[in-house]
Every structure is written in C-alpha cells, then in structure tokens.
Amino acid sequence: MVSIDFDATSAPELMPMLRSVLRQAFAKDVKVIMLGHIAIGLPLGHTALEEVAAEHDAEYGVDYVNLGYRPGYIAVMIAMGREIEDIFRTDYQGTPIRDMEITRDVHSYADIDLLFGFEHGAVIDYWVRYAQARFHQKMTFGTTAVMAPDAYPYLQAGQIEGLGTRGMPAQQWGHLLVIGFIVLGNLGYYFTKGKRKRSGETA
C-alpha cells in the first residue's frame, strides 16, 4: 500500500522516491494499492502511478489501483484496521473495490504486507500511532528532509521498518555550497571585526 501524503510543495523531493518505489514494486510483481491523505497531492501520485505502470505493462484493477482520498486521517486509518470497504467502497473512479481482482480479498491491514508512506507533514505520526501501534501494520516511509529528524526516533525504536534517506547528488552539492557560503560569511565577519570596531559600528 502506498500513501500519498504530500502535495506540489514537496514534489521535487518525494516524486523521485515515489517513482523509484513504484518501479521496484512493479518490477518485482508486487501489487500496489494507492491512497492519499492530502487531497491536492493525490493527482501527483496518480500521475506517477500511471507512468510507471505503463512502463511495466501493469493492468489497472489487477496489478494496481488508486483508492483515492477520504478526509480525516485518524478515522480513515482506524476504519481500515477493521474493514477497508467501510471507508473505501469504491476506487477513485467509482468502481466497487470488490469488483477488482487486486482488492477483492483485501479487508484490513492484515492483508497488506507493507505500507509505504510518502510524507511531508504530520501524517507520519498518525500512521505510526494509529496503524502501526494499534494494528501492527508494517510500514516504511519516504520523507522530506524537514521531516526526517522527526521520523528517525520511530526508526530507532523499531516502530517502522525503514526510512528513505538517500539524497540526490545535486542536492548534496547544493548543501555543501551553502555550508561554504556560511563559512565564507563567518570568515568575512571575523576579518572585518577590527575595521567595524574602529568605525564604531555595533554588531
């Protein structure tokens, strides 16, 4: 199960991760059930799903499905622990989930091997506290860099199986450049200290 919990503001960070995970899933013949808790982000997830599915000749309703969006993270997560059909009677197109091969026998987290969440906000906390703690759903996440420090304690405590942390090389070079600018700025500040003191300027 793939959860799209981000929108366009985090797309540059999370879309490459999402595409990689989907490619791995389809290459290994793993069924993909997509849903999302951020309404305006779900179309991004669906676009990636369709693109990658086409690369692997995957069939909608058999190899993958998009259940869509339901508001209220907590209610959705708890209801899915009992019966997914209670909250998702149909997929995003209105096709009943019991009419599709991929979801015909999927009832709760017990039928989901792994949840992979793509997170740019607090939804990760809800997944861990409601789906993992309560229903023991195995889960792993790909997060934005901002969210990573909040997610590490879950990994350290063994509450989640994994955390996508591999950065893009260009991003790392950008980071090093900013560190360089910070060092340069501080050196400039240090070497002009005496000059500013003489001119009576205060820091």
Partner: protein, 211 residues
C-alpha cells in the same frame, strides 16, 4: 512535440514559476497573481475532492442505497456538518460548538491512547538500552541515554539550574542545539530540493536546454 495543451501548460507553469521567483527581487504584481492563483486553485481542488471523495461516496450514495438504521444514522454526521456552517451567522454561531466539541472529544479520546501506545511507551522502551562492554553500540546507547536524561532535566524548572542540575541542564542544551542544527540542515536541504525541482523544470521542460 507534445499536444497543444501540454505546450500551453508548460508555458503557463514556466510563467508562474518565474512569477514566484520574482519575489527574490521584490514584491510585485506577477508574484501576487501567482500566489493568489495558487491559493484559489488549491481551495477549489479541496472543495471538489471533499464533494466527490467524501460527501458523495460516504453520505449521499449510502443514504440512497442503505436501509434501516444504517441509512438513518447518516443524518447525525450530516446534521453535525451542516451545524458547523452556523459559524457564518453570528446569531447561530454558538451551535457550531456542538460539532466542534464532538470532534475535539473524539480526537482527545483517540489521541490519549494512541500517544501512549504509539509514542510514549515505545520511545521510553527504545531508551532503555544496554551499556555494557566497550564497543560502538554501547557508546551510541550511552550518548542516547545521556542525551534523553539531560534534555529532560533541562526542562525541569522547579529548581534553580545550579550545581549538578546546572551542569546536566547545560549538557542538555548541547543536545538540544545539535537537534536544532540537524533540523535546520535538513530544512536547508529541503529548500534546495525545491529550487532544484523548479530549475530542472525550467531547463528541461521549458527551455529544453537539458534533454
């Protein structure tokens, strides 16, 4: 060559990207246009999504198809939802406290157990670590335990931070600062990612400088 729709979409996205980036120079009408457009489109999207992914499949369709208690129980959430809108009218605004109270009550009830079960207990458990032997794992465990204890002690304000408490609180500050530094570093990386994303779009899709 893409379709006409794709070409127009790409140029529009390019214009909006440059309009947002123009804020780096100073606030201007192009930036304001792009900003307002983003807010408006997002609000519209939310409205459509809530109507088609919530109200229609969770309320309207079941109400038409279900029978008995399962049908009529739907009146309760529908009524609470409508009552929430009473906030728009000052004379009836007080009514909206009922659905808000319901939401807060459910949230608090679920939150208390979830926070204990899914956060407090596992995190405390993860801090009770063995520190025997001289190896990197023990050292890592020691740092973790010292960090947690000293950070908690920093937030103990019932006694002046002097003597032993003063020293431990100071060590706690170091751990807090390291944590802030990590968060700031990651935040910086996130912003660079966003910039890379936009520049990649401009160079590949818009200008086609990169294949």
């Amino acid at each position: 060559m893409g379709s006409l729709g794709m070409i127009i979409g790409t140029w529009l996205a390019g214009f909006l990207t440059l309009a947002i980036l123009s804020f780096l120079y100073k606030d201007n009408p192009f930036y304001k246009l792009a900003e307002h457009l983003y807010v408006g489109v997002s609000a519209g999207y939310w409205l459509i999504y809530v109507a088609f992914f919530d109200v229609e499949p969770m309320l309207v369709t079941p109400f038409m198809e279900e029978t008995g208690v399962e049908k009529w129980i739907l009146i309760v959430p529908a009524a609470l939802g409508i009552i929430m809108l009473s906030r728009w009218f000052p004379k009836t605004a007080w009514l909206s406290r009922w659905p808000i109270a319901f939401t807060v009550g459910v949230g608090a009830g679920l939150g208390i157990t979830a926070n204990l079960q899914g956060y407090v207990v596992p995190q405390v458990q993860a801090t009770l670590l063995p520190m025997t032997g001289f190896n990197l794992v023990s050292l890592n465990n020691l740092i973790l335990v010292v960090g947690v204890v000293t950070t908690i002690l920093y937030f103990y304000f019932s006694k002046a931070h002097k003597g032993v408490l003063g020293v431990t609180a100071k060590i706690g500050i170091v751990f807090i600062m390291v944590s802030f530094g990590a968060s700031f570093g990651y935040t910086l990386m996130a912003r660079i990612s966003l910039l890379i994303g936009r520049l990649y779009f401009i160079l590949t899709d818009l200008l086609r400088v990169i294949d």
